[in-house]
Symmetry: C2
Subunit: 328 residues, 2 copies
């Protein structure tokens, strides 16, 4: 199994990417890890390189500020684009990048290419839940507008991902909506509902935004716009409450003392909300697995993304998606 890592993408590249690649290559001897990027910058960071770790030189880099489509089209020798080409040509089973999200989605669409029958690949990060298990939500920003048929494909792909990668036997799939009753929603969700009922998945019906964090489903289906509003509202509210809490805790000596007494518990609280702990977000519906690591990924996050990609490849996720879609 071969996994390509974009060595140049992310806030802490190439150091964290190299660290993660080294750790992964050491842990999984059956996996060939390929660092893609500027050899002159990568080589000095590679001490005691294991034999299952190699470097593929790529001379250009897509920056965070680059306009995605133009960058992918013009920078043909960018580390991200080269990694994508390796997946398309079978030189790698999966690729990981912590770089520019838009450019990675474009790389997926234009370089890696879609699974036959899939209209829209979907970005599927985990959203935090109170039980710490998280929910896979898709689409989260790859496509702002969606048709009912797209939501049905997201449902199928999300369910397969949870089954194959997270080993959940019958993942509960919910549709993000404004009420739980079947007739609720906008034109999109009203038309998507019957399509989801027909799929070979465990569809649990409509899920309201306020219930998402209670872990009522394993997969949450939505269009990119609604998904963005959901995720950013959760982030914003949690951030706002933590800053309020901090303010309240610093009001007096008494409250500061209380805060000190509560410190381990407050850390627990914060870690529940930290969806970064759930690893990278897969970009589903492509002819090879693409994993989007957080921009702030450290070595451990990169290693975890390799773990995700390994599990998905071992369990033939892409092939399963392809055969389920063609069966429809």
């Amino acid at each position: 199994m071969k996994i390509a890592i974009d060595a140049m993408g992310g806030d802490h590249a190439p150091q964290s990417n190299v660290d993660g690649a080294l750790a992964a290559a050491r842990e999984w001897k059956d996996t060939e890890v390929i660092l893609v990027g500027d050899q002159a910058k990568i080589d000095p960071l590679l001490k005691n390189r294991p034999s299952n770790l190699t470097v593929r030189h790529a001379g250009e880099v897509i920056e965070a500020e680059d306009e995605p489509v133009r960058a992918v089209r013009r920078k043909k020798d960018a580390s991200m684009v080269v990694a994508g080409r390796m997946v398309r040509e079978g030189e790698a089973d999966a690729m990981i990048s912590a770089g520019n999200t838009g450019a990675l989605m474009t790389t997926g669409l234009l370089i890696v290419g879609r699974v036959g029958g899939i209209e829209r690949p979907a970005l599927a990060p985990m959203i935090p839940t109170l039980d710490g298990k998280g929910v896979l939500a898709l689409d989260l920003g790859a496509n702002m507008d969606a048709k009912p048929e797209h939501l049905a494909q997201y449902a199928l792909m999300g369910s397969l991902y949870r089954e194959k990668v997270h080993n959940i036997a019958k993942p509960r799939v919910g549709l993000l909506n404004v009420g739980t009753e079947p007739g609720k929603g906008n034109e999109l969700t009203k038309h998507a509902f019957p399509l989801l009922e027909e799929l070979p998945i465990h569809f649990v019906g409509n899920v309201e935004a306020r219930d998402v964090m209670n872990g009522v489903c394993d997969v949450l289906v939505c269009d990119g716009f609604a998904g963005n509003i959901l995720l950013k509202s959760i982030e914003g509210t949690a951030g706002a409450l933590f800053s309020l809490l901090k303010e309240q805790f610093s009001q007096s000596l008494k409250t500061k003392l209380a805060a000190a007494m509560m410190m381990p518990q407050l850390r627990n609280l914060k870690s529940v909300m930290d969806y970064k702990e759930h690893g990278g977000a897969p970009l589903l519906g492509l002819s090879g697995l693409v994993v989007k690591g957080h921009g702030s990924s450290d070595g451990n996050a990169i290693k975890n993304a390799v773990r995700q990609a390994r599990t998905a490849t071992q369990n033939r996720l892409v092939q399963s998606i392809s055969s389920e879609i063609s069966r429809k």
Copy 2:
């Protein structure tokens, strides 16, 4: 000035509604408060009735479980419907109800009627912000799907409401979106953006869901579906974090002690998130003001809704909306 109160709507009706009506009539002698509902149930609760408080008998009640459109069409003598008819016929300047939300929106549309030129009335509750001032968000559920022109009308109505009722000189109007740059969004928000730029309002551009609670705008424009996702995500996340906090605080004697020390501060925290404190939600775009009180409204909440309705009537909100819309 005459304000009709649906005496029978809400979880604590008619007691809270009567309490609120009494308090309002006592405070504002220039206002005629009319309680609409079952006289036999209202009269025993009316002690020392001030002369500016009257009762209009209505023999039927729309229940929380009633299907809105059918209930409004069939229960012609329901307290809510009678109050709506009074507004339409000029017997009241405004009406307040804490009853079935869907039925109240239907009453607004079918009984009170729209301002000429308004395509869709909008429900506009306040969403909490960290500075405690709140943001008026519309539409929150009256219409699931919207066209760009509808969002432009929401923007105009929301801006006028904040100016006339909350006395904000140049309300900052934002468009709920997935990014702050002008080109961002789905088809709806991309097409609404230039329309909002042309309006005689202080349009501050796109606002991301995560910034809403930071109070970056006074009016937030969105379609009913996205607005519902936003509001319920905020509610859900706050609820989830409070329950987590409670759990963490009950872990040991030490944490319980810390919790006791922090109690006043924790109450502050909770009250910031309590958007019910901002009063009732106006239903804008109707030929008379309709205010939706929370189902759980107590007497004080009903009185606050009367205050809102009074201010809006004094400052000729409905007439301003009508003339701005016809000017376009």
